[in-house]
Amino acid sequence: MTQISVTVDGIKEVGEVEPRLLLVHYLRENLGKVGTVVGCDTSNCGACTVHLNGESVKSCSVLAVQADGCEVTTIEGLSQNGELHPMQQAFHDKHGLQCGFCTPGMIMAAVDLLKENPNPSEHEIREGIEGNLCRCTGYQNIVSAIQQAAGQGAGDAVQTTVSAIDQGANATAGASAGQSTGDAA
């Protein structure tokens, strides 16, 4: 076992891990941060994408020990002060998700994409998310969502507030308060 110290979504975590433990398993199993998911075992699908020191990585391809001393941001840490990140908002606005399983990784990859290229063309967006697979949407509305977010400067990871949350977002927030539909309990 090796001791590591990792800041995850702003919280400093210290723990003993097996050297072979993958970052994604550390997040899910050791920290209970199950917002980040595992979709494959060959680093193809990107569902587990998180930010490691601000850059997107597939957390199935990083050992937990490699994250020692690093900052990790997951989908759970993206929204700030109860407001969706512009990329999350854009996915909602543009129907960029259906089942939602690829969504955490897709959003984290998209945020990093805009950080590197704030005004990508459609082709550049498609290339930028090539490492993230979606089986539901055919990608078109994901591309639209990233285009919307690009227009709002979502690539700047520091500025994560949304200037105005429209009616639709309020409706969603309202619905979520009683969101027991799919809960297991």
Binding site: H25, T36, G100, F101, I125, Y139, N141, A175
Partner: protein
Amino acid sequence: MTVTEDRVEASGHSATDREVGKSRKRKEDLRLLTGRTTWTDNHSLPGMLHMAILRSPVAHAKITNVDVSGALDRPGVIAAFSGQDFAEEQGVIPCAWPVTPDMVNPGHPSIAVGQVNHVGEAVAIVLARTKAAAQDALEAIDVDYEALPVVLDMEETVKDGADLVHSHTESNTSFRWVFDAGEAGTGTSTDEAFSGAEVTVSRRFIQQRLIPAFMEPRSSLADFQGEGVTLWSATQVPHILRLMIALSLGIPEHKVRVIAPDVGGGFGGKLQVTPEEFLVILASRRVGKPVKYTESRSESLLSAHHGRDQIQYIDIAAKRDGTVTGLRVRLLADMGAYLRLVSPGVPILGAFMYPAIYKFPAYNFTCDGVFTNKTPTDAYRGAGRPEATFAIERIMDELAAELDMDPMELRRKNWITHEEFPFTTVAGLTYDSGNYEAATDKALEMFGWDDLRAEQQQRRDAGDPIQLGLGISTFTEMCGLAPSRVLGSLSYGAGGWETASIRMLPSGKVEVVTGSSPHGQGHDTAWSQIVADQLGVGFDDVEVLHGDTASSPRGLDSYGSRSLVVGGIAVVKAAEKVVAKARKIAAHLLEANEDDLDFKDGSFSVRGTPDTKIGIQETALAVFAAHNYPEGIEPSLDSEATFDPENFSFPHGTHLCATEVDTETGRVTIRKYVCVDDVGELVNPVIVEGQVHGGLAQGIAQALFEEAVYDAEGNLTTGTFVDYTIPSATDLPHFDTANTVTASTTNPLGVKGVGEAGCIASTPAVVNAVVDAVRHRGVNDVQMPMTPERVWRALQGDQDSERAAEGTNAYGGATTEDEKLLDTGGPS
């Protein structure tokens, strides 16, 4: 019945304020966007153990010994079991669709006892405190196998003297299912049609084996306590699963609770009762602890059921002027090693769709379902109908080429015109409504057909290495499964109704309980829109509950594009009952005759004195207090309705694809894709568009990218996402989509199913486009997936091209390792 008579003019909301038809953003999204999801694998229970499965590495063998003792010595391991340990109690994985009375069902164990019949079959399990410990211990289990001959090729497997998959059966044929229009009285004999035909065209098409490849790997968590079990599972069918657990494992039905929490896609792949679900239940009962199993992607691709995998022999007869006179179809359908829930029914669903939108006078269909030593097949998006649509739309293009006719002209000459609905086809289905002309005209305009044809000619004349091809698919499909009596006549084991109930809470808020079980489709949003209109309440006042047999005890779940056209209509019917009950109470409170009440914008008012009114939400509070209500009725507005449709749903549309084919490399690029779908009235246009997009992606992927390939020993060589190449964003084009609206006449919302349409329609449009691009080079077919290599080989016209292009052992193709490797190409 006419369209207008029975259409619901929802009484609750005035027309200008209707929720149905609005592109509402989804209620489901927030938790999915923020990682607050409830995927089965996210669940943990106190004392929970993790299960790992040792899977067979061989396709066909006797098991002579299993020794799990080594695993028990590993750290953290609590128990390990072989199939023998559950031999007396494991039941069988059910097949609910015995398509013929003499269908052979060899029996499907959850875990192999004595013999394995495909690679990936469960042989032993380990239970441990952590998932890693369970998986580590698998290597300490010893299994001795005695090899049996491996059966892979469908055309070989049905021959006399072929090696048998199941030694206790007489042959590898499970069933032969026949439909003859002459015998059924829906048309005439094909013998006559073909013997006197002016033109006939015959083709052998391969529907390659596909894998649904939902993004969320399957996961199940069983907590067996006392006599009963609670099962969380990544399933499309919690209600069917509950019943099958009761029937097959002998656990009393009322002691079984199944919960489908957030489910990450299905596409038919989670329309199943799986060995893994049974195993967690058996293991939890045995050790008295909760047990969870989550598959890896490799396990998923190997052991979750596959789809398609048919060889289609199709003959079409026509007159020289293009009038079609007969259609004959013979199928070999690979069931894999076992029959699963609806495996045999999948090709039979297709049987009714080969005649498609065309007026064939004669039709004959024969399907042999056969066993091979491969993963079982079952439903995958479209289930039988994509195969049918592919074959008919491909052979219409081949007939057009034979007749030297424009392929669209040939279709126009033969399709059902909009004045002819309702129309009963030669397959015996009555299509309620449609307008193929309108959808086609709109699609042609959006596509710019004439300009693209002109460009195609220019490129041909110039000898451009990049050739352009135009492909058509004018499809229809049957969905919205389905009228229970029809399913009964097809020997399906259950009905096709759906149930909804509505609970009016004291504060006027509304809970809708649906038997549909969404896994990405947005039912919470769409059902809220429907109920808001019906009851005249706010969209946000409605909460939709689903996916838990404790809270939604009756249902038949989501598949076959049935949720809206069956489940959504059940919601309408339940709401009508709520309004009827509220009307009596309101009349009592307003001291009026109930016949004198109007219901509009959520309020009952007395006709003539519109200010004398009470809202339905206020009525709910009055009913809760129950201080003042009429004699002889119950103080409750809650209502339940079960809807059994009178007919299937028949969405249709015209899909047009332009492809550029690099004749030097064989690479295919989609230049333009246009589709106009007619799915009746739209409840939420953005959700509809999303369903079409996703369907297109999967249909195009069949044409260009995906195939489950087995080597000569029966190993799946496409067992990871490295080799089973589902498309990424760069592999797909921008889709130009639109709708025409021809309302269904068989349900009160006028809606038709949409979940499978894009997937059914798109595959032949792409293949027709590629063949069109290179037909002048002598190519009249390219086997799917149309990898650059296959297109290139077809262009070379070399002696081996057909065989090589067919690829895998399944279809009489490559037999050497080198050839197999050549044929596993993916997205370019």
